[in-house]
């Protein structure tokens, strides 16, 4: 893991088209202002302290930038019809944990998501040190998710961090 960047995962919604977007902000405070962008009227929905990172090969020093990955989310297996759920059932006998790599455009209106190269690197990185041979981490793109509205996944961000102190 390299180029670790601390900041905020910011989620906005457009009341006009009902799309949702997210972005990673490295500003000292999370931006919360509403703004207009063409036909969209983006309003702040939520933000969480989070981090972005890239991956670097320890042997050849090749880097895989992961700027498209806004955050990772653990699948809680809420819907058997969901593509993310299905990704965790493909190897019976394995203790498979599926994490969803979330891209910036939650609604996927531009038909883009996390690149295959990034997913390959994430899967390799999070599996290479696991000691339990039956355990497996599977990272899938968020376009596999059936519905963003009813998804019960756990986003790996610092929810409630400031409530602690």
């Amino acid at each position: 893991m390299t180029n670790i960047r601390s900041g905020y995962l910011v989620i906005e919604g457009c009341f006009h088209c009902r799309n949702r977007i997210s972005f990673f902000s490295q500003e000292p405070g999370a931006p919360i202002d509403d703004y207009r962008e063409g036909e969209h009227f983006w309003s702040h929905l939520a933000h969480y302290q989070a981090s972005q990172f890239d991956l670097k090969c320890e042997k050849c020093s090749a880097e895989v930038p992961l700027r498209e990955v806004m955050a990772l989310m653990l699948c809680m297996k809420c819907n058997p019809d969901c593509g993310v759920y299905a990704a965790g059932t493909q190897e019976p006998g394995q203790k498979t944990w599926v994490y969803v790599a979330l891209c910036a455009n939650t609604s996927h209106s531009p038909k883009k998501c996390i690149p295959l190269k990034s997913l390959g690197a994430l899967n390799e990185y999070f599996n290479h040190g696991i000691k339990d041979p039956a355990k497996k981490i599977v990272v899938v793109p968020c376009r596999s998710r059936k519905s963003v509205d009813v998804c019960q996944g756990i986003v790996l961000a610092d929810v409630g961090l400031t409530d602690l102190y």
Binding site: S51, F53, W97, F126, L156
Partner: protein, 108 residues
């Protein structure tokens, strides 16, 4: 040192069964966004008791999680840790006291 041996030597509370893993190192953090960068097999010491922390701890395959300052995880947090086979431990004192004790025991 294995987690079970650490529990015997320090008297840490246990909140669930969990796997008895070898402790490869120790990491102290309260930030999920920080935890996802650690290596596998670490004993994670934290004040956070929410489910996001368990999701991150599972991703990086921690040896166990210790909640310091007498923090107690909720039932749904323990249930998620059980599914992941992550042992949850508790320590009444502050994180620094525990860190000193772990150093004395040469943990990690």
């Amino acid at each position: 040192m294995r987690v079970s041996e650490l529990v015997k030597k320090t008297g840490l509370k246990t909140f669930n069964e969990g796997a008895d893993k070898e402790i490869m190192g120790v990491y102290i953090s309260d930030m999920v966004s920080d935890i996802i960068g650690i290596k596998e097999g670490h004993l994670l010491i934290t004040l956070q008791t929410h489910k996001n922390l368990i999701a991150a701890a599972n991703l990086v395959d921690v040896a166990a999680v210790v909640f310091s300052r007498n923090r107690i995880p909720a039932d749904d947090v323990v249930a998620l840790a059980n599914r992941a086979g992550i042992k949850l431990l508790g320590y009444d004192g502050d994180t620094w006291s525990l860190a000193k004790r772990l150093c004395e025991l040469k943990v990690g």
